[in-house]
């Protein structure tokens, strides 16, 4: 506290409270609406008071959009994407930082350029690759007049849901950043003690990277859980549906009964897991965000 400033303090609190209402208000509306009956949720003006209908609405939503299957799929997808990203980016960063090879620049820049290629602009051919993983090889061979008869279709599978999303520049840079801060003596000492690079990676680097991994895990879980476009395109079999795809199925039908209480209860179920992760692991989440963007 530098000086006593009662008016400025009051103003600061007012700003913080307004910010709180603006950013948290939508949550409160969803919470209240999800626990009301249909006439209550459609009342104008809307009442922020929660009622006791949440369980009933939630189970109606659960049945309407088959959220059980979707929840399992979303969990599997988010877990696989997170694990894949945390593991593969560590390996790539290790190759970039700890080896004396001209290839490291190739590795770095090929990862970097992916930042400029969001899924939305390459969506059709990515879909084509997922439909047949050997399509690139076939096209190249086809150029030389060769044909092969193998095909590996990833559509409607967990591999297809996750593999195209696993490559990560953010994760690679986060590890790279961290590896660069380690003192050179660490690798020297390991070498003096007779440890090879592989052993150094598994026995020293990975244990040291624990906080880094936790930060990356939290941001990537949220990323994986919130994927929308990719599952929407490649999943046609309902048994592979994810929660994000179920959102539109939760809407009341256009000319039907406006049971928004059920829709809101369903949306709440879909929103809850990443919010809980960010709330509980906020320190790591923030660290991951801030340090990966440098």
């Amino acid at each position: 506290m530098i000086q006593r400033t009662p008016y400025a303090d009051a103003f600061t609190y007012a700003i913080m409270v307004i910010g709180f209402l603006l950013l948290l208000g939508p949550f409160l509306v969803v919470l209240a609406g999800a626990s009301q009956t249909m006439p209550q949720v459609n009342a104008v003006p809307f009442s922020f008071l929660p009622q006791g209908e949440f369980m009933k609405n939630a189970s109606a939503a659960w049945a309407r959009a088959d959220l059980g299957t979707a929840m399992t799929n979303s969990l599997i997808m988010a877990a696989l994407v997170t694990a894949g990203k945390v593991a593969l980016s560590a390996c790539t960063a290790f190759a970039i930082v700890f080896f004396r090879t001209p290839l490291k620049h190739v590795f770095f820049w090929s990862v970097f350029i992916t930042l400029m290629l969001p899924l939305e602009v390459r969506v059709v051919p990515t879909y084509a690759v997922a439909a047949d993983l050997f399509q690139p090889i076939k096209s190249i061979l086809g150029f030389f007049g060769l044909e092969i008869g193998i095909e590996w279709n990833l559509l409607n599978s967990y591999a297809g849901l996750t593999l195209p999303l696993i490559a990560t520049a953010t994760g690679t840079f986060l590890y790279r950043q961290f590896f660069m801060t380690l003192p050179d003596e660490l690798a020297e000492a390991a070498r003096m003690d007779g440890s090879g690079s592989v052993r150094f990676f598994f026995d020293m680097l990975l244990p040291l990277s624990r906080t880094n991994m936790l930060a990356l895990t939290t941001i990537m879980f949220v990323y994986g859980w919130n994927q929308y476009l990719w599952p929407l395109l490649m999943v046609t079999d309902p048994s592979y549906k994810t929660l994000m795809m179920s959102l539109l199925a939760l809407l009341p039908s256009d000319n039907g009964i406006p049971d928004w209480n059920v829709t809101l209860a369903g949306s709440l179920i879909i929103m809850a897991p990443p919010v809980i992760v960010v709330a509980v692991l906020q320190r790591w989440f923030v660290r991951g965000l801030v340090s990966s963007e440098k």
Binding site: T12, V29, V30, L115, V121, Y228, Q282
Partner: protein, 296 residues
């Protein structure tokens, strides 16, 4: 920065980098090569090999008024959205950074909206700002259709931008707060000694020192607004590009044209233009990061 103590092996680094490189080749570079190929070729309507057509696909895309409509919509989305995200994030960060008792409580909550997927937030806001129910219905009670995103394109665009702002304000808040905390306290104290009150200190000391972070956020948020996953997700789940193309942002138009219109060549030409745009943004950002100011 180079490491001195490095391991010498040519095949181990390749082995370590390979898994991710294979995924990148398969799902990034190959598809982009295909996009480039499609952008300059056209498949004959009755089958057969694709023909090279030069810049015809680009000319066709650029002569379509709906394309320019999507450019304008994207421009509005990617300037208004980031402006408010940064303004709200900055205001809240300046308030929280005064470290009054209880500000930790607020800081905890401000980041939570960022955890929610754009489409899920969209679903909530379809209710909250619906013309018939929720919070905005009271406005329509004054006079019908004062607010109706289902009918007016401008209202729908405002709606999707509000959702974007709601989700991303917490993100800018985090970066600006981190930036403020790295400004040495002594600067603020010195200004206070010279008689500057909290507002003057905020405007004349803290905000100018935040310039690098503000610029970084401006570029990041604009990129996010043009091509971010949330931009597509929010538009797709809330308005579907309508009403009357009023919310058809560039990414939505590309995906829609490819999968609904099956016009791969047209969509690819638009993709190339968008990739060019991202490259410009990334370049600007990188040029600036090189010169990034550090306070300590």
């Amino acid at each position: 920065m180079e490491k001195r103590a490095v391991f010498k092996s040519w095949w181990l680094p390749v082995l370590f980098a390979l898994p991710q490189l294979v995924l990148i080749l398969l799902f990034f570079y190959w598809p982009v090569a295909a996009v480039v190929n499609w952008a300059f070729t056209l498949e004959p309507p009755f089958g057969g090999a694709a023909e090279f057509v030069g810049f015809a696909n680009f000319k066709e895309a650029l002569s379509d008024p709906f394309y320019w409509n999507s450019v304008v919509v994207s421009l509005i989305f990617a300037t208004v959205g980031p402006f408010f995200c940064i303004f709200i994030g900055l205001t809240l960060a300046l308030a929280v950074d005064r470290q009054l008792p209880g500000s930790g409580f607020f800081r905890f909550f401000y980041i939570l909206p960022f955890a929610i997927a754009g489409p899920a937030a969209g679903m909530a806001f379809r209710f909250i700002l619906s013309p018939e129910r929720g919070l905005a219905a009271s406005i329509n009670a004054l006079s019908p259709d004062l607010w109706n995103p289902a009918k007016y394109g401008s209202h729908a665009l405002a709606l999707v931008i509000i959702i974007f702002i709601w989700k991303w304000s917490g993100y800018t808040f985090i970066f600006l707060l981190a930036g403020l905390q790295s400004v040495p306290r002594a600067l603020g104290e010195a200004a206070a000694m010279d008689g500057a009150g909290p507002f003057r200190r905020a405007i004349d000391v803290q905000v100018p020192l935040l310039a690098p972070t503000l610029f970084f956020l401006l570029v990041t948020m604009m990129t996010e607004g043009f091509v971010g996953a949330d931009t597509f997700g929010i538009v797709h789940s809330v308005t579907g590009g309508g009403p009357n193309h009023g919310t058809e942002v560039m990414v939505y138009r590309i995906v829609d044209e490819a999968f609904q219109g099956l016009n791969y060549s047209g969509a690819s030409a638009q993709s190339i233009i968008l990739i060019g745009l991202i490259m410009v943004f990334t370049f600007i950002q990188f040029r600036f990061i090189e010169k990034r100011v550090h306070y300590k």
